[in-house]
Amino acid sequence: MKNSFDEKILDEAQDWINANQKVVLATVIQTWGSSPRQVGSRMIVNEKGDFSGSVSGGCVESAVVSECLSLIKDNKPCKKIEFKVSNESAWEVGLACGGEIAVYIEQIH
């Protein structure tokens, strides 16, 4: 059972915002097959590329950070990204577990 009440990632997002950082929130919204982090798992990224939390077991985090930085640069509100097994065309990252995940990224503004 996931204990969302005790998760601190959104509190941390607010701390970053209070420190005048731009924050993008990444959330796992769908999973297929085996994937290490369940739906609702979160990660935050700031404009410098610092991040906290996780959306996988380390497989796609770097790609998510890059996407979040582009979102800030292009000043877009949100984007949905799907990661499949060795998704070579995009970022050359994939999920070693053989699963697929969809991650939704959105600016907190």
């Binding site: 059972m1 969302s4 959104l10 509190d11 607010q14 915002i17 739906v39 907190i108 503004h109």
Partner: protein, 226 residues
């Protein structure tokens, strides 16, 4: 997500109010939903689905839509009878698994606050103790004293109030005697056989943390069957 929405989420989170975050994945709109209310604007089309996600404690994208829902549901209440050594390990496991433990034990020397910091310990007999705890069919009971004087009234209460998980520690022989007593007290075979006894899944371990692990594993598996 708007900063205002984030602030509201944090407020609800710290007051442990049950709610859900609804997000429109197409345009980025998000809103907070409270159970029993009607979702606003675009989200109102999916009122039924949103309610179902909430009831089944699920997070995810509503089928054939671009609506994502993340639910914030209170921990499952687990009542442990017997402030024994195994209970100390149960408390440790429960914390990271979203179970909220309350302990009942009329024996003062067992149920001390030092042994169970941050846990509600009720130093009364089960009958009186249950007057202090709100329970329903989403509550679980773990009876650990294997003393009929203490366990039996709690088991009877849990059966009558249809707890979704009821487990009782004790050997096969102890459990047979327990079933016999419950039968004499008027409980049906179906009711009695719903009790997990001897409690826990078979792991092979005998130490207190191993027994606690086998109990918590059974509780988790029954919670997903619910």
């Amino acid at each position: 997500m708007k900063i205002k929405t984030l602030e509201e989420i944090l407020k609800k989170k710290s007051s442990k109010t049950e709610f859900a975050i609804l997000t429109n994945l197409e345009n980025g709109d998000s809103e907070i939903y409270l159970p029993g209310t009607s979702p606003k604007g675009e989200f109102s089309k999916y009122a039924g689905e949103i309610e179902n996600f909430f009831k089944s404690k699920k997070n995810g994208v509503i089928e054939n839509s671009e609506i994502f829902i993340e639910t914030y549901i209170k921990p499952i209440k687990v009542i442990v009878v017997g402030a024994v050594h195994i209970a100390q390990y149960l408390v440790d496991f429960a914390k990271s698994l979203n179970f909220e433990i309350s302990i009942i034990d009329p024996r003062g020397y067992f149920a001390s606050e030092q042994r169970f910091p941050d846990i509600k310990v009720i130093n009364k007999w089960p009958k009186e103790a249950f007057e202090e705890i709100e329970t329903n069919s989403s509550t679980a009971l773990i009876a650990l004293t294997h003393d009929p004087k203490i366990d039996d009234p709690a088991l009877q209460y849990a059966l009558k109030n249809k707890f979704y998980y009821i487990g009782a520690l004790g050997s096969k022989k102890t459990h047979e005697n327990r079933c016999q007593r419950l039968s004499e007290a008027g409980f049906t075979n179906d009711q009695i056989s719903s009790i997990h006894g001897p409690i826990g899944i078979k792991l092979g371990g005998k130490s207190a943390p191993e027994i606690a692990l086998s109990i918590i594993a059974q509780l988790v598996s029954q919670t997903y069957k619910k």
